[in-house]
Symmetry: C2
Subunit: 415 residues, 2 copies
């Protein structure tokens, strides 16, 4: 017990310094990909680059309904002086176009039809007049290649369709189907062990005795791990004792790629987590405290080559530090190229004061108003999970700034 | 065959008019919710409002490590003139705080501990000095309620925790755990039947004969349906013939909540789809053509009380019209309150011309530059799926505008 805050013994780092320290010390070896069916591949991350094994489309295709022809035969054509072309066999959808188009010839073709040999353009139906069964008048000139998608124009053999580390979106799934690739090599979901600690914490389905609270963090973290592309493993609740926490962390290290401890918001509990993680080095604890609110008492360790995160106990701190530190670790294991974080601009609805010396993450409600989007800070202590439930976004007040004035345009990261 | 475009026979509507026409005619009855385990509930949508059945926290809790006391006993305390308080039994985590705090008393308490009866505030350890085993000197005054989260301050019995129609995020999952709610009533995923049409279209695992192309749209749409919270049912490929298309649509109506037809980009194929959907009314076809690029030849129908979408054949048009029309239908079946669509601001990298009279959706690459985010249009015909694969976002040029100049600040919707 002392007059000076214990916090000063923390080697408090900035958010990016803390992240960089983990990145510099952790060198996960890439794990082999796993093959999944294309129908199940949405949202998964490519394990290697995907080259195109063939051309898409596999033949020159019409993009309109009209007549396939030789562009040169239409040069100079007009309503007053049409080009009269002899009609060959119609192009049938899904069939090889049979008859070669020779000088002065044309063939009726529908959108998606295969250009007959000899043809190099298509004129739209709307610019033609039927003369008889065997002849069409073309009222406009067309350029070579007009209304045609060339063989390989979409995807060309040997070109890279997708890089490794790419999260598959619906359009990517479609492009893979176009190439006939129905089995895709993706990164396995990193296994993330989740441990809650605290003598007062009991499973959610328990009837509460006085002094007990339910385990919030295992559940919110499990959902966050899944959303980030990981697979949560629920390792249960450990009492705030060295042996109990160590046993759970060892179980996590044996079965998982990343381990999260949460809870232990008291100094004593933090000490237990810190001691366990120090013992499981080297290097053990890399980061002990971050200049961040909420989330300051964060521990980041590397044990048996795997990251272990000691997240603060407050439910809001837990999700804030998850987004900043654990999610990037999952993405690194996925080999995922970090994308742009969805963000909006909004006007701040009221003044916010922020103590200097830490980066502050403020939860906000977003309201559509006549003057545009308004970001209204959600008031309430950072221990309250409902401040997150009520929020749609987060704004960040950087380390050096002591607050923001109402009316300021702020960048809002969507939750 | 005629000199005037067939398109003029379409009753072309604006995007919002087209959406409104479906909304006004379609009255789906809410379906019963299904119960899922809380661990599986992330991303699902609540089927009814969730009221709080109890208080969270269930008791007054300390938010710091320190001493529980009666605030009045510290009034006027300072380093020069501390308040000397008699220490009772320590509060143990997870246990009912035993000894009542009487005038001049205090009890050691850790973060998360239950406030003993009689105490109304906590003083942080840092502002105290130990005198002996039985006495502590408090060096600062504390206000009633300081460093305490009151019983029910986070969630109060009877209050609504979550509304119906809310998509469950990690924080929501945590709040449900806090209330001991481990089974959650969510809306069942709407079943969406997916039909590709076209004589030239074959399944992706086929070896291609000349003139054939693989089915892209069933796959990209399936991934899009899943991402929107629906359950895709793959109904296969129909030839561009009335009977074949009708059989598939009837199968879709029998087993699904929504049916999507895609393909049929030729006028003949569109006619087949339109005739089938007209016959399956009333009301049948509601929208035939939208002032939109890509995606103009869109059909929206209501058959047997269910929406049927005839999406244009081009893979890019398919995903554009899906986002604008099918996704909102899935969200309506989920009872989901539409959220804010993630969007960024960026500078346009080059001039874009756009024909008047239609809303144009342009795919863009996003590049981080020293001057901020740059949106670079992805060039290429709208039939090319790779223009979507290469893009991270979409910008919209409204109906009345004929283009945008390079350097304009544009709103980019993330793909």
């Amino acid at each position: 017990m002392s007059g000076s805050p214990r916090d000063i013994f923390f080697k408090v780092l900035g958010v990016s310094e803390a992240a960089a320290r983990l990145a510099a010390n952790w060198h996960p070896s890439p794990r082999p990909g796993e093959e999944v069916d294309l129908l199940q591949a949405g949202g998964r991350v490519t394990a290697k680059a995907v080259p195109a094994g063939e051309d898409v489309p596999p033949f020159d295709r019409s993009t309109v309904d009209g007549f396939a022809l030789r562009a040169a035969d239409t040069f100079g054509a007009s309503e007053g002086l049409p080009a009269f072309l002899d009609l060959g066999e119609d192009v049938r959808m899904g069939k090889e176009a049979g008859g070669k188009i020779t000088v002065g010839g044309a063939a009726r073709i529908a959108t998606g039809g295969m250009l007959p040999p000899g043809a190099d353009a298509v004129v739209m139906l709307e610019y033609c007049e039927s003369i008889d069964e065997g002849m069409v008048a073309v009222l406009t000139p067309v350029a070579p290649g007009e209304n045609v998608i060339r063989r390989g124009e979409d995807i060309s053999t040997g070109n890279q369709l997708l890089p490794a580390g790419h999260r598959l979106r619906p359009a990517d799934i479609g492009a893979l189907a176009a190439l006939g690739l129905t089995r895709i090599l993706v990164r396995p979901a990193p296994k993330v062990g989740i441990i809650s600690t605290g003598d007062e914490v009991v499973p959610p389905n328990s009837k509460l005795a006085p002094g007990q609270i339910r385990d919030i963090n295992s559940y919110s973290l499990g959902a966050a791990v899944t959303a980030a592309g990981g697979e949560p493993l629920y390792l249960g609740i450990a009492r705030d004792e060295f042996a109990a926490v160590k046993t759970k962390v060892l179980a996590g290290l044996a079965s998982c790629d990343v381990v999260i401890l949460s809870g232990g918001s008291s100094v004593g509990a933090r000490d237990v987590a810190g001691e366990v993680l120090a013992e499981l080095g080297p290097p053990g604890v890399l980061v002990h405290g971050v200049a961040l609110r909420p989330g300051k008492p964060l521990l980041i360790a590397l044990c048996q080559g795997k990251p272990v995160f000691g997240l603060p106990g407050h439910p809001v701190s837990v999700l804030t530090t998850f987004d900043l530190f654990v999610k990037p670790a999952i993405e690194r294991l996925l080999g995922l190229t970090p994308g742009l974080r969805p963000r909006l601009w909004a006007r701040l609805g009221r003044n916010i004061a922020s103590p200097p010396g830490r980066e502050e993450h403020i939860r906000v409600r977003l309201l559509e108003t006549e003057e545009g989007l308004l970001a209204e800070p959600v008031l309430g202590k950072s221990g309250l999970i409902t401040t997150l439930v009520a929020a749609q976004g987060t704004i960040i007040i950087p380390l050096g700034k002591e607050g923001l004035a109402a009316g300021t345009e702020v960048e809002v990261y969507l939750l």
